[in-house]
């Protein structure tokens, strides 16, 4: 009794700390349920879009096998290939565009600089979806909506406008001390040499960040790919294909396969994200610094 009395204050606090941890655990649980549920469903042996239990009654790898063997409705490896191709092309072009624009706006001074930045801001206020529909019509007039040119079209659309999204990279360049390039310029280096020999080596993190995020883009985007692909199944990206798996006519057969596909693409994308999140946070706070 006396010990309890002596520890009364610490005990009260200890209970509070314990409660805080419990609360945090509950919150974390709520946030993780959907992800956990996808993983469970991907190993579920029974078909159908719903099950009466949270944990599967039968575990199996059938859903994964189905994705890579059953091409009757959805050709998952083909979708993966399409997405990979688009992602690689997109990440190279986008990174080139973003780094060029960000460096120019951060370091070089010229008349059109401010107007360009304001224009970029105005463009970003338009719903991106609006230009997408128009792009679809342009591409359809060019006859690119079916056939291999559709891939080119998708790469163009993903990468073409990438230059507008320069803010995070610019935020990073702004934090690289200007004393470095000034010193180099006094030594007679041209702006091009400053960029390639000084700024680029110092900016590896942001270049890697831009490469990785633009690589992940086509895996995550669903709307643009859906509008552009329309019914051409051969050119589906994973996002479009997976969305189709949940359409009424397929959901019973393909729901568990959808979960398996989700796990397959989420693992690399999540890894990429974890690798880049530091730069994301830095870039955003850097951008805030103006």
């Amino acid at each position: 009794m006396s010990t309890v009395q002596k520890n009364k204050k610490p005990l009260g606090k200890r209970i509070m700390i314990l409660l805080a941890h419990v609360l945090l655990a509950i919150l974390a649980f709520i946030w993780l349920i959907p992800i956990f549920w996808v993983v469970m469903t991907s190993f579920r042996g029974t078909q159908g879009s719903y099950s009466s239990t949270f944990f599967p009654t039968v575990y199996s790898l059938d859903n994964y096998i189905k994705l890579f063997t059953d091409f009757s409705v959805f050709n998952f490896p083909q979708m993966l290939g399409n997405t990979l191709l688009i992602a690689v092309a997109n990440c190279l072009i986008s990174t080139f565009f973003v780094v060029s624009v960000a460096y120019t706006l951060s370091r070089l001074r010229f008349k059109a600089r401010k107007p360009l930045m304001s224009t970029a801001m105005v463009i970003k206020l338009f719903p991106g979806f609006m230009s997408m529909i128009a792009v679809y019509y342009i591409i359809r007039m060019l006859g690119w909506t079916d056939g291999p040119m559709l891939r080119v079209a998708m790469i163009c659309v993903y990468a073409g406008g990438a230059g507008v999204e320069y803010h995070i990279a610019k935020g990073f360049f702004d934090t690289v001390p200007t004393a470095l390039d000034e010193a180099a310029r006094i030594d007679g280096a041209t702006n091009w040499r400053v960029l390639t020999k000084i700024i680029m080596p110092l900016s590896k993190p942001i270049i890697v960040y831009t490469l990785l995020t633009s690589f992940a883009g086509p895996f995550k985007d669903f709307m643009l790919a859906k509008v552009l692909c329309g019914p051409s199944k051969d050119y589906y990206t994973v996002a479009v294909g997976m969305y189709q798996m949940l359409e009424k006519e397929y959901i019973d057969q393909w729901f568990c396969a959808f979960a398996a596909a989700a796990v397959i693409i989420s693992i690399p994308i999540a890894t990429l994200f974890m690798a880049t999140q530091k730069y994301y946070a830095e870039g955003v706070s850097g951008a805030v610094k103006g």
Binding site: I17, A20, H21, A28, I30, W31, P34, I35, V38, S49, Y50, F96, F97, V98, S100, V101, Y103, T104, L108, K111, L116, I123, L125, F126, P127, F129, M130, S131, M132, I133, A134, V135, Y137, I138, C156, V157, G160, G161, A162, G163, V164, T190, N191, K220, F222, V227, A239, M242, Y243, L246, F258, A259, S266, A270, Q277, A281, E282, V284, S285, G290
Partner: protein, 453 residues
């Protein structure tokens, strides 16, 4: 800078016209003339070629396109009886959409021409000034090397800007122009359509009109949604960050990882899964029914109030980890002296939160808040992949959780009311511009850039 040529601002097209020699002035008409006179042969030839190209295009197609643009075409597809083959043959009529696109491209090329006049004048004038000063104009080699130094911005920006113009600006103009036509499945206007001026806007803004009755409620809900979604995420995220930062919490990195993991998984996956879980026969309802909590499935996407609450909660689920990610960094940047001084003055944690943390965070994140707000107004994924705008009344094209952007999708992709869709796009742009401008004007970061530094 002067070592490698004249500073840019001395040389303007106007200055060229006022002070340049005859050759310079004539460069406005014959592009590259001024350069050719000053022995810049390659540059001059390129300009001339561009001029020839534009003139050829205009003669061949440009003027025709512009003429058609005025009416958007009026020749219908015709059926002509072919005696020889004894069958009807179809003769292509005008297609307004093609005419519209070609017209806009022609206008863009004309604009390029105007810009070229300016460039030609400035080049000619620059060459002349250079000649006056040191006897000869810059050689090609010097000009090219300037592109990697004093003019590096032109080199670096050329391709990105071209990409933005072709794949963002041109499509936007194309779509915007549709708002002033009657391009729609209504009255069979999909092949041939006409300019209608501001009619669509009138129909949209008219409170009692067919479209106005849908538009205003959707706009209201969109703004409501954007405000609630932005601030709920922001404050819940801030509280969660502070909570995890509390010195008594163990395993901070682990907790953060748990939340951030949900950002790492592609959203369309998790959102589709959540939609599936909230179906009448989905995991949530099945579990609750099995546990005996409820007897009938909860009407997540069939009742307006439920659906709206559901999408806001889903958005909290989606957005809070992002806020957590950023706030963690921002909170670490608050100067600790501020807190120490407050503690010396005997302030309690609540006072410190409202007097130090909140003002600091708000100050730093105002630009971010605006971006998030914009993002939420255009938050297509959270709505389209979960509630799909449902519940929807039969006679309406928009459901009660539809935002302007998802309504735009439905009108254009599903219903093919392109004219109205374009108007909605413009309306979204207008409301976003107003909100962003206002917040920028009245926010602390705008008035006092150095506030906390």
């Amino acid at each position: 800078m002067t070592e490698r040529g004249y500073p840019e601002r001395e040389i303007t097209a106007l200055g060229a016209l006022q002070n340049g020699s005859m050759a310079v002035k004539l460069s406005a008409v014959i592009w590259g003339l001024g350069c050719l006179v000053r022995k810049q042969f390659v540059k001059g030839a390129v300009y001339l070629l561009i001029e020839a190209g534009i003139i050829f295009f205009m003669a061949e197609a440009g003027f025709y396109n512009l003429g058609k643009l005025v009416t958007l075409g009026d020749v219908e597809q015709q059926k002509i009886w072919n005696e020889a083959k004894s069958l009807y043959e179809y003769v292509d009529g005008d297609r307004s959409l093609v005419i519209l696109l070609y017209g806009i491209i022609t206008l863009a090329i004309i604009l390029c021409g105007v810009l070229m006049v300016r460039i030609s004048l400035r080049s000619a004038y620059a060459a002349e000034l250079e000649c006056r000063r040191r006897g000869r104009a810059l050689t090609l080699r010097q000009e090219v090397s300037a592109l990697f130094d004093a003019n590096l911005h032109r080199t670096l920006l050329f391709l990105p800007l071209l990409g933005i113009l072709v794949f963002t600006v041109l499509p936007l103009l194309f779509m915007t122009s549709m708002a002033f036509t009657n391009y729609s499945v209504l009255n069979d206007k999909l092949v041939l359509f006409d300019w209608v001026g501001l009619d669509n806007f009138q129909r949209m803004l008219n409170l009692s009109g067919d479209l106005g009755r849908t538009f205003w409620p959707v706009l209201g809900w969109t703004l409501c949604w954007a405000v609630i979604a932005t601030f709920s995420n922001y404050f819940i995220g801030l509280l969660l960050t502070l909570f995890i930062n509390w010195k008594e919490i163990r395993g901070k990195k682990f907790w953060r990882f748990c939340f951030v993991l949900t950002v790492a998984v592609p959203h369309f996956v998790t959102l589709l899964i959540i939609r599936q879980m909230l179906q009448p026969t989905g995991a949530v309802n099945v579990l609750l029914q099995n546990m005996g909590v409820i007897s009938a499935p909860l009407p997540f996407f069939t009742d307006t109030a439920w659906a709206r609450t559901a999408v806001i909660l889903i958005n909290i689920w989606v957005g809070v980890p992002y806020v957590l990610l950023q706030m963690t960094g921002i909170l670490q940047n608050i100067p600790p002296e501020l807190y120490e001084a407050a503690r010396v003055d005997g302030a309690n944690p609540v006072v410190m939160f409202f007097k130090i943390t909140l003002p600091y965070v708000l100050f730093v994140t105002t630009p971010y808040l605006i971006t998030t707000f914009t993002g939420n107004i255009n938050n297509f994924n959270v709505i389209f992949l979960t509630s799909q705008g449902l519940p929807r009344a039969v006679e309406s094209t928009a459901g009660s959780t539809d935002l302007l952007i998802t309504w735009l999708y439905k009108l254009t992709i599903d219903n093919r009311y392109y004219d109205v869709g374009a108007v909605i796009g413009i309306m979204t742009f207008v409301s976003l511009s107003i909100v962003s401008l206002l917040t920028f004007r009245f926010s602390g970061s705008y008035k006092d850039e150095e506030g906390f530094r």
